[in-house]
C-alpha cells in the first residue's frame, strides 16, 4: 500500500494540497515500511528508492537547525547555502547567482536566485538570508558558525536591498568573504523560524523532513519542487548505529547502503573484499598533529620546534600510522586542493635537528612528555611512531596515554606537548582560526606578528594573485615557525553498496539530488 501511495505522488504534478496530503500518507506508511526493512530491500527498491545511511550520532540532542552545535548529518539534503564549493573548493552559485564587492572589499552584494521555494511552499527571498545570518550570530543559538562569521560580521550588518539582493557590510575588508558563506551554519532557513527549525527542518534543499527522532533516526522524503530538478531518490533514512563494528555488519548484511562515518582499516578491508560493496577513498583535509606549546619551555625556542619537526619522515609515518592511506602535509594545514596552498616538501634530517638542539643549548638532546589519547584513531599511533623517530635526533619522548574521557578537558592545550586533530578548513579559516595569535582555537599559543599581518593583508587584496602571495607567505612562516607538527592529511574512507550512484568520495561536493540507487 505504501508503495502505491508513493507512485501516485510521483505521477501527479505536485500542488500544494497534494504535497500536504502525501506528507501525511508518508508519515502513516513509515512504520509499515520500517518493519521488514532488513528482509526485503531488493523487492522494495524496485518501487521506492530508499537510501539507508548508517551514522554514529555524536549527541542524542540532535537538532535540524543548521546553526546548532548539535546539527544533524543531513544538512545539505534539507538546505541550500548562498554558495557551495566546487571541485576545487572555490565558491560556486547555490542560492546566490552572482556576487560582487565594492572597491574596499568590505561591502558585498549577493544576487539571489528567484523562484526558489521552501518545503512549506513559501518563496525564498533576501529577508530569509538576513534572518539566517542574524540567527547564526545570535549568542542564544550557540552556533559554531558564529566564531567564523563574527570576525567580519555583526548582527544587523546584513540588509535586504530588494527581494533578490542582499548586502553584507563587513567590519573589515575580506576579499574571500564568499568562502565564509559556504559554512554549513549559514544554510538558509525561512524568516522567523528560529524557534521551530530544530524540529521542522524546513529549507530549500532536495529533500524534506518526513520523520525525525533525535538521536535515533531521521527520515527524509523527496522534495518534488526542488529548484535543481526532481531528486532521483524517493527517500533517505539515517539510522543511528553507535558501534563501528555493528555499522560494518549492517552494511555487509545489506541492512544499510552507505556508511558516512570514516572507516577504520579493518572495516575497509572487510568491505572491499565483498563483491557488492566498495570503499570510496579520497584525500581529505583532515589532519592529525603533534602540537608544541610555543609558550612553554623548551618549545619557546624556535630552533627546538624546528628540530622537533625535522625528525619526521613523511612517507614512513604515513605507512606506519595510516597504512599508506594519506598524503604528506609538510607541516602545512592548508588542504592540498586549496588554491591558496603553498606547496611544501619536508624531509627528515636528524643531524640538522641535533645541530639546532645544540645551538638552543641542549647538547645532550631533550626529554619531553607527549600526551595522547585513543579518542581519535590516529593520535596514539602517530605518537608512538614519533617517539621512535625522535630517538635518532637525541629527543627522548615519554608517551602519556590518557583516557579519552578526560583527554580533551584535562590535557589537550594544557600540556607542553600533546596530540590533536582538526577537520578540513579552507585556507583563510584554518590559518586564522588555529594559528593566529589570540584566536581561541590557537592550541599551540604560537604568536607571530608578521604572520598576522600577512593574513590581514591577504583579506584586503582584491586581486587574486596578490592574495595568493600573502596567504603563501603566511604559510611559509607557519611551516618554519609554528608549534605544529603536521605530517599528513588522512584519506577519508567510506563504505557503500555498489548500487549507490552519484555519491562521490569528496563528500562536501556531493549533489544530493543526483544521488540514486540502481
Amino acid at each position: 500500500m505504501a508503495d502505491e501511495q508513493d507512485r501516485w505522488i510521483g505521477d501527479k504534478p505536485m500542488t500544494r494540497k497534494t504535497a500536504i496530503k502525501s506528507a501525511g500518507a508518508a508519515a502513516l506508511a513509515l512504520p509499515l515500511l520500517s518493519t521488514p526493512a532488513w528482509s526485503a530491500p531488493s523487492t522494495r527498491a524496485a518501487t521506492i528508492k530508499t537510501l539507508r545511511i548508517a551514522y554514529a550520532q555524536s549527541t542524542p540532542s540532535e537538532s535540524l537547525d543548521p546553526a546548532s552545535p548539535n546539527r544533524v548529518n543531513a544538512l545539505f539534503l534539507l538546505y541550500n547555502r548562498l554558495v557551495r564549493p566546487d571541485a576545487r573548493g572555490l565558491p560556486t552559485p547555490d542560492l546566490a547567482v552572482s556576487w560582487s564587492a565594492n572597491a574596499g572589499g568590505d561591502v558585498w552584494t549577493f544576487k539571489l536566485r528567484s523562484g526558489v521555494r521552501f518545503h512549506d511552499g513559501k518563496q525564498f527571498t533576501a529577508r530569509d538570508v538576513v534572518y539566517t545570518v542574524d540567527h547564526v550570530l545570535d549568542p542564544a543559538t550557540r552556533s559554531p558558525g558564529a566564531a567564523v562569521l563574527s570576525t567580519v560580521l555583526d548582527r544587523g550588518a546584513v540588509t535586504a536591498v530588494n527581494p533578490t539582493t542582499v548586502r553584507f557590510r563587513l567590519k573589515q575588508p575580506h576579499a574571500d568573504f564568499p568562502l565564509l558563506m559556504m559554512h554549513f551554519a549559514t544554510s538558509i532557513i525561512p524568516e522567523g523560524s528560529a524557534a521551530t527549525i530544530g524540529t521542522t527542518g524546513i529549507g530549500t534543499g532536495p529533500f524534506r523532513e518526513a520523520e525525525f527522532v533525535a538521536g535515533t533516526r531521521n527520515t527524509l522524503q523527496r522534495f518534488d519542487r526542488y529548484w535543481e530538478g526532481r531528486p532521483l531518490l524517493d527517500r533517505v533514512i539515517y539510522i543511528d548505529i553507535g558501534d563501528a563494528q555493528a555499522r560494518t555488519n549492517a552494511l555487509v548484511a545489506n541492512q544499510v547502503d552507505l556508511l558516512i562515518d570514516n572507516l577504520d582499516f579493518a572495516a575497509a578491508r572487510t568491505i572491499s573484499a565483498r563483491s557488492n560493496l566498495k570503499v570510496l577513498e579520497a584525500p581529505s583535509g583532515r589532519w592529525t598533529t603533534i602540537c608544541m606549546s610555543a609558550n612553554r619551555p623548551p618549545f619557546t625556542d624556535q630552533r627546538v620546534r624546528e628540530a622537533m619537526k625535522l625528525v619526521i619522515d613523511p612517507r614512513q609515518v604515513i605507512q606506519a600510522v595510516l597504512q599508506g592511506k594519506g598524503s604528506p602535509a609538510g607541516d602545512n594545514p592548508v588542504p592540498l586542493t586549496d588554491p591558496y596552498r603553498q606547496a611544501i616538501t619536508r624531509v627528515r634530517n636528524t643531524s640538522r635537528a641535533r645541530d639546532l638542539l645544540r645551538q638552543a643549548g641542549h647538547p645532550n638532546g631533550i626529554e619531553v612528555d607527549l600526551y595522547t589519547s585513543s579518542s581519535e584513531a590516529t593520535m596514539v599511533s602517530l605518537a608512538v611512531v614519533y617517539a621512535e623517530l625522535a630517538k635518532d635526533a637525541g629527543i627522548k619522548v615519554n608517551l602519556k596515554e590518557i583516557s579519552p574521557d578526560s583527554y580533551w578537558n584535562d590535557n589537550w592545550r594544557k600540556e607542553a606537548l600533546f596530540t590533536g586533530w582538526w577537520g578540513e578548513r579552507a585556507a583563510d579559516q584554518v590559518l586564522n582560526e588555529i594559528f593566529r595569535c589570540g584566536s581561541r582555537n590557537n592550541e599551540s599559543q604560537w604568536c607571530n606578528r608578521q604572520y598576522g599581518w600577512a593574513l590581514d593583508r591577504a583579506r584586503t587584496q582584491l586581486k587574486l594573485p596578490a592574495r595568493v602571495d600573502q596567504y603563501r607567505k603566511a604559510q611559509r612562516l607557519l611551516v618554519r615557525n609554528s608549534g605544529h607538527i603536521i605530517p599528513f592529511f588522512v584519506n577519508s574512507q567510506r563504505g557503500m553498496s555498489k548500487r549507490v550512484t552519484g555519491y562521490t568520495a569528496r563528500t562536501d561536493i556531493v549533489r544530493w539530488h543526483r544521488v540514486g540507487l540502481t
Binding site: P31, S34, S61, P69, A253, D410
Partner: protein, 316 residues
C-alpha cells in the same frame, strides 16, 4: 517468615539509597559535564556556561542530589539533560526491550543448561560429560562480543535468516522487534549456559554420592528415577542461586551485547548516558540495574526458603 521478608526489603532499599549516592558521586568525579559533552570540543566557554546555567548545573552537587532524590520519592525520575525528554519515557521502552531480550535468553539458556548439567552429572566421566564440560568452559571464557560476532557471521551473513544489527526504533512494536532479538538473546544464552551447567553438574554428582541415593539404589529403584526424582531436586537448590545471579547479570550486564547488535535497550542507553554525563539518566539506569539485581536475588532466596524446610523453620 514475613518478618524476614520485610527485613530483606528494608535492607534492599537502604542498599539502593547507598548505590544512588555512590553513582552520583562517581559521575560527579568524571571529567566534564553534560554541557561540555553536548557542545563538544570546539564549544566556546560562554556557550558552555550558559548551557550549564540553563540546566541548573551551576548549583552545588549536594543540592542537585537532594532535588533528584525528592523527585524520585514522588515518583518523578526527572528530565534527561542530554535528550530533553522525561526519563520515564526514555527508560520505559528500553527496559521493555531489555526485558524481552533477557526473557528470551533465559528461556533458551536455563532449560538447555539444566538439561546438559543433569546429563553430564548423571554420566560422570563419560565422553558426553567430558564434551559438555569442555563446551561449558569454552563458552564461559569467550567474551560476549566474540560469540556475537560469530553468530552474526553465521546467521546473518552466511544464512541470512536474521538481521545482523537492529535498525528499528526503540519504540517499535514487539513483532517488529522480534527478528532482532534472536541473535543477541542466543549470545547471552551461550555465555550464561556454562556457569549453570557446571553448577548443576557438580551439585548432582554430590547428591548422587549421598546416603539417600545409595539407599534408593539398594531398594532397587531405576537409575533414571533416582536421578530425576531424588538427586535432581536436591541438586537444584544451590543451582537456583547461580541461576539468579545469571539472570540478574542478564539485565544489568547486557551493555556489550546490546552495543554489538545495536539493540535499543538499557545497556546502550547506559553507555550513552555516561558518555553524555547525563546524571539523572545515569542514576535512573543504574538504580534499575541495582534494583533488578536485588529483586532477583530476593526471589531466589525466597524460592530456596520454600524448597528447603530446614531453612524455613530456622528462627533468625
Amino acid at each position: 517468615v514475613l518478618k524476614l521478608v520485610w527485613r530483606r526489603i528494608l535492607l534492599s532499599l537502604l542498599t539502593l539509597f547507598l548505590v544512588s549516592i555512590i553513582v552520583f558521586a562517581a559521575t560527579e568525579v568524571l571529567p566534564g559535564d553534560v554541557a561540555t559533552a553536548v557542545l563538544g570540543r570546539e564549544a566556546t566557554p560562554e556557550a558552555v556556561e550558559s548551557l550549564r546555567q540553563e540546566l541548573g548545573l551551576d548549583e552545588p552537587a549536594v543540592e542537585r542530589y537532594r532535588e533528584w532524590l525528592q523527585g524520585l520519592l514522588t515518583g518523578d525520575l526527572g528530565q534527561s539533560l542530554s535528550r530533553d525528554e522525561p526519563i520515564a519515557d526514555l527508560v520505559g521502552v528500553r527496559l521493555r526491550n531489555t526485558l524481552i531480550l533477557a526473557t528470551v535468553a533465559a528461556l533458551i539458556g536455563i532449560p538447555v543448561a539444566l538439561a546438559l548439567g543433569i546429563v553430564a552429572g548423571a554420566r560422570r566421566d563419560s565422553i558426553l560429560d567430558v564434551l559438555v564440560s569442555i563446551v561449558a568452559l569454552v563458552t564461559m571464557s569467550l567474551p560476549e562480543f566474540v560469540v556475537g560476532t560469530i553468530l552474526i557471521l553465521v546467521f546473518s551473513l552466511w544464512l541470512g535468516i536474521v538481521p545482523a544489527v537492529t535498525t528499528v526504533d526503540p519504540d517499535a512494536s514487539i513483532s517488529a522487534l522480534m527478528p532482532n532479538v534472536w541473535l543477541p538473546a542466543l549470545t547471552l544464552a551461550i555465555v550464561m549456559i556454562g556457569w549453570i551447567v557446571r553448577m548443576m553438574r557438580t551439585c548432582l554428582i554430590e547428591s548422587l554420592d549421598s546416603d539417600y541415593v545409595r539407599m534408593a539404589t539398594l531398594r532397587g529403584l531405576s537409575r533414571r528415577r533416582i536421578v530425576l526424582a531424588h538427586a535432581v531436586p536436591n541438586a537444584l537448590l544451590p543451582t537456583i542461586s547461580v541461576i539468579a545471579l545469571t539472570v540478574a547479570w542478564l539485565i544489568g550486564g547486557v551493555v556489550i551485547v546490546e552495543a554489538v547488535f545495536n539493540y535499543p535497550g538499557i545497556g546502550t542507553l547506559t553507555v550513552e548516558a555516561v558518555h553524555n554525563r547525563d546524571l539523572p539518566l545515569v542514576q535512573a539506569v543504574t538504580l534499575i540495574g541495582a534494583a533488578t539485581f536485588i529483586l532477583v536475588n530476593l526471589i531466589a532466596d525466597l524460592l530456596m526458603l520454600a524448597a528447603n524446610p530446614r531453612l524455613r523453620t530456622m528462627r533468625t
